[in-house]
Amino acid sequence: MNGELILFFVLAAVAIGAALGMLFSRNAVYSALFLILNFATVAVFFLLLGAPFIAMAQVTVYAGAIMVLFLFVIMLLGAEQIQHQARRGWQRPLAMLLTLALLAESAYLIFTRSDLLTVLEPAASDYGNPQAIGMLLFTEYLLPFEVTSILLLAAMVGAIVLVKEDRKKSGGQK
């Protein structure tokens, strides 16, 4: 068992633990913090897999920007908790069951498909560095890249329009 494998298991444990933590925290703030932890671990996985650019993006965009947004909203709304009230009793067991089924399917896949047992070789030195990604983004994937920018713009405008209070209405209603 080499060091890399040990690192993998430790990180995997942390990731799964963080995920579980997110799932079962009563307080949404804790959930968010757990999720950040999870994202950070995944970023390390990306580094391990020779994707430093994606790892950085993961940290800055996901763990940074997006999760901060989540925290903002949670605190803004003051909606950390909602009272526990099991209304649909069979929803929870059924969900567990289905999740287990999905896991079982994955396990079956892992144990039957031999090609999944490939061991990852050390990558070439320039594999996955920002330069290579950039080349790819600005040549082959130029159009999707530009479309993404429009998508982001649209989302931004949409979010602003949605949240903006109608001046006339708010005067009358509230």
Partner: protein, 100 residues
Amino acid sequence: MIPISYYFALSAILFSLGALGVLIRRNAIIIFMSVELMLNAANLLFVAFARANGALSGQVLVFFVIAVAAAEVAVGLALIVIIFRNRQSIDIDEMSSLKG
């Protein structure tokens, strides 16, 4: 050194946990976070397979997923804010106007 199946297993676990979160939690924000978790699990698998195949396209796709996720979060959270404003709650079970 590390077989790809390990990553596959990890990804599958994370994805299942995300799905479970969507199904059992009632707090809309947490459901939302669970969705992000599922996306992340998928991302992990993408990168892993990209590495296995020595192709960068997988990474580029992850990049796009992150961008789309950002957009989705922006709009989704905005929706949650409006819903909260109108109903003073983000309990997903409070919203059942789709009932047939």
